[in-house]
């Protein structure tokens, strides 16, 4: 038993080792690269599942998590260790990450078949899996932050994997920069915590919060900064813009990184540092509202998109919003339970549409439809995923979403509750819209309908297993709440469950009427909603807003500063002295004239520095 615990470090280490091996020998292995990666991830997954029982026993017996690590660096008197901490939360994340990584890698054997950089793909996948696992076992903020960045890098590499498409390269960069903005928040929070408590260890920090050593506005600030990092990673409004673009990456990447694991890291982080949030009512409100707004906004945008992979991306944002909402109203169990079921059914949905993309070679709803005749198994797995997502009992999503809605209702915040329930309706509508349009209606595909057939077996097996999961994981709510030790899955009586189910059924029915009944179609809906539909379709112009509000001003500043070493300072130096004749001469200025300017700027700077420090020093 304890022997198993002692090798728990192998779980993140094995995939990282696979990455190292693949980097060095990948090109020689060819197709074998995939199997090496799958083997290492597989062992890690088995280990992660086997660890569950002894580690949770240890947790109960010892009243503290199993810890393993070695001293990594010494800063003054503070020691930072690199290692493994097996808390309930971490124990839950380990199997989710490793098992889904394993299934997605198996799927990718078929999906990526024949790609020129096949070994490279699996090397990156291993690196991601290892980093993500190392992230979730972190005993301290520093290790978490390092692997937090590493998974971001993997995301960058994998979104841009098909760099021949210029869109892919752009999307990769956008994802990296936008999430980094959030990451700065997290880093600042870590520094604040370190400055206040002198420690990076989670346990020490949480103890400091619970013993009221930290409190008031300071805790709110830390919580909000942590949430900034979480919102960037989990694509929450207003930092959600990178996730839809990230769909330029290969579909297995979308399933693993941008649906099941990495984007859930933000939710995991909030759950991990929950005591910090719990100490600040304001921070909890922010988490709940941002979650609810993200859930609702993303669901509305998803209604009008014609790129079906992007619809599922918006769906991911929306569902992550639910998880944040659950945490924001105080239930770790509800949030993490939904994280678990969502990881399974969203991965399934991605793999199913991936099969369609693989066969039909398009992501546009307008180009492909009526696939039921050709891809029955894919269609069935997709609909199982759709049922789970819409929250129809007894599929997985029903149980976990019900938990969140129950928590919201029992907290009694009606604004949040309305958004939550409305989103249920919208969710059912947009996902069944995809389902109905893809698999029913006119039989067509861009390269000829006849050429389409079921995906290879290697892709079907993981889809089948995930479909079973999408039916079954909903029944593990009790186990999860016991593992986390954070209270039972919230319940609020039959009313919530029935209302949610009815709303979901209404959504499905509306989608059925709109898309499968002749004479009534999307055009009619668009006419009915008018400008609102256009706002959905244009994603509320948020991208355009960033372009005008952030990107252009930054570039303008850059241009300004660049000019400064050219002419602007020259001109400024002149215009201070108000010389009318200078403007004409400015154009014909000799290079050596600039050197004089440089000296002048240095001298003026000295004067200003003296003045500033005299003023500053005389306070």
């Amino acid at each position: 038993m304890d022997g198993l615990l002692a090798v728990s470090w192998l779980v993140p280490f094995l995939p990282l080792l696979a990455f190292a091996l693949l980097t060095l020998f990948g090109s020689r292995l060819g197709q074998g690269a995939a199997w090496l990666s799958i083997l290492f991830t597989g062992v890690a997954a088995v280990l992660a599942v086997l660890l569950l029982s002894p580690a949770s026993t240890y947790l109960q017996d010892q009243q503290h998590p199993y810890q393993w690590g070695f001293s990594w660096l010494q800063i003054g008197s503070v020691t930072v260790s690199l290692g493994v901490s097996l808390t309930g939360l971490n124990l839950l994340m380990l199997p989710i990450v490793s098992v889904i990584a394993l299934l997605v890698q198996v799927y990718a054997v078929g999906y990526m078949h024949g790609d020129a950089r096949y070994p490279r793909f699996f090397a990156y996948m291993s690196l991601f899996t290892g980093s993500m696992l190392a992230l979730v076992v972190s005993p301290n903020f520093l290790q978490l932050y390092i692997f937090w960045e590493m998974v971001g890098l993997c995301s960058y590499l994998l979104i841009g994997f098909w760099y021949q498409r210029s869109q892919a390269a752009k999307a990769a960069k956008k994802a990296f920069i936008v999430t980094r903005i959030g990451d700065v928040g997290l880093l600042v929070a870590i520094f604040l915590i370190f400055a206040a408590t002198g420690s990076f260890e989670f346990s020490a920090v949480i103890q400091a919060v619970q013993s009221r050593q930290l409190g008031g506005g300071f805790v709110t600030a830390i919580a909000l900064l942590i949430f900034l990092g979480a919102a960037g990673k989990s694509a929450q409004f207003p930092l959600h813009v990178w996730l839809p673009d990230a769909m330029e990456g290969p579909t297995p990447v979308s399933a693993l990184i941008h649906a099941a694991t990495m984007v859930a890291a933000g939710v995991y982080l909030v759950a991990l540092t929950f005591p910090i949030f719990a100490a600040s009512a304001a921070a909890m409100q922010v988490v709940a509202w941002i979650g609810a707004i993200s859930a609702f906004l993303a669901a509305t945008i998803a209604l009008a998109q014609t790129d079906f992979k992007r619809v599922i991306a918006y769906s991911t944002i929306s569902q992550l919003g639910y998880m944040m909402l659950g945490l924001g109203v105080g239930s770790i169990t509800a949030g993490m339970f939904h994280l678990t079921t969502h990881a399974v059914f969203k991965a399934l949905l991605f793999l199913a549409v991936g099969a369609v993309i693989h066969e039909a070679d398009t992501q546009e709803l307008d180009e492909v439809s009526g696939l039921w005749g050709k891809m029955k198994i894919t269609a069935i797995t997709f609909f199982i995923g759709a049922l789970a997502l819409s929250g129809i009992p007894p599929f997985a999503g029903f149980w976990s979403k019900d938990g969140i809605l129950a928590a919201v209702v029992s907290q009694g915040n009606w604004g949040l509750a309305v958004l939550g329930f409305l989103t249920v309706l919208l969710t059912a509508f947009y996902i069944w819209r995809i389902g109905f349009r893809l698999f029913f209606g006119e039989q067509r595909a861009p390269h000829g309908y006849e050429k389409v057939h079921e995906a290879p077996l290697m892709m079907m097996v993981p889809m089948g297993l995930l479909a079973l999961g999408a039916i079954g994981t909903g029944f593990f709510g009790g186990n999860i709440s016991r593992l986390l030790g954070s209270g039972a899955v919230p319940e609020a009586g039959w009313g919530v469950a029935i209302l949610a189910t009815v709303l979901a059924l209404v959504g499905i029915g509306a989608a059925f009427l709109t898309y499968l009944r002749p004479g009534f179609g999307e055009a009619a809906v668009a006419r009915l909603l008018g400008p609102v539909w256009i706002a959905f379709k244009r994603k509320y112009w948020i991208d355009e807003g960033y372009q005008a509000g952030v990107v252009r001003p930054t570039l303008a500043l850059a241009a300004g500063v660049r000019q400064a070493d050219g002419n602007i300072i020259d001109t400024a130096v002149e215009s201070v002295g108000a010389a009318p004749g200078a403007i004409g001469e400015g154009v014909a200025r000799a290079q050596t004239g600039r050197a004089q300017t440089y000296l002048a700027v240095g001298t003026i700077a000295v004067v200003l520095l003296v003045i500033v420090s005299v003023i500053g020093g005389s306070r």
Binding site: E574, V576, Q596, A600, I604
Partner: protein, 173 residues
């Protein structure tokens, strides 16, 4: 103030420093190259006179010998041989001049303020240092021996640099 000027040395210092500054300004602001060179000579001589005031006759003599006797004469020779007596246009706009002049004046004012504000508190102690040649030699080869050796390396590097900068390469033309 009156105390300050009552000592003849201080009075001399002000007069000589003022003349040196005037000559230095002439070097910076003058138009004709030959005038610049002559002003430079004046500035060197002024510094030599300051050394005399500081009771360092040897440094004064060295200053005159090296700077006036060697460097200035070298410059004058160079000017005569190359015939560079044309008036150089300064090419600096009035606006820039005004700005920089303002900055310099403010800086000077600040410096004077700083020095004058503290002048009374600094104890004036006779240095008691031996300014004889022997003492100078021992300081150079003792306390500042390393600096002295480094300076000789510096001169060597400067020599090489001068050659590199001025020599016309055969394959360059």
């Amino acid at each position: 103030m009156i105390d300050f000027f009552s000592q003849p040395t201080n009075l001399w210092f002000v007069v000589i420093a003022f003349l040196t500054l005037i000559a230095s300004l002439g070097v910076v602001a003058g138009e004709k190259v030959m005038h610049l060179a002559l002003n430079l000579g004046g500035s060197f001589a002024g510094v030599a006179a300051l050394f005399v005031l500081l009771q360092s006759p040897f440094l004064a003599i060295a200053q005159v010998l090296i700077y006036v006797g060697a460097i200035l004469v070298m410059i004058l020779f160079g000017l005569m041989l190359t015939g560079a007596h044309a008036t150089e246009p300064t090419g600096v706009e009035t606006g820039k001049k005004v700005t920089v002049a303002t900055a310099v004046i403010v800086l000077t004012a600040l410096t004077i303020w700083g020095v004058y504000g503290s002048a009374g508190r600094w104890p004036v102690v006779p240095s008691g240092l031996d300014t004889s040649l022997t003492a100078l030699g021992q300081a150079l080869y003792g306390h500042w021996g390393v600096a002295f050796e480094a300076a000789s390396t510096l001169l060597l590097a400067a020599l090489v640099g001068a050659i590199v900068v001025s020599r016309r390469e055969d394959d360059e033309a």
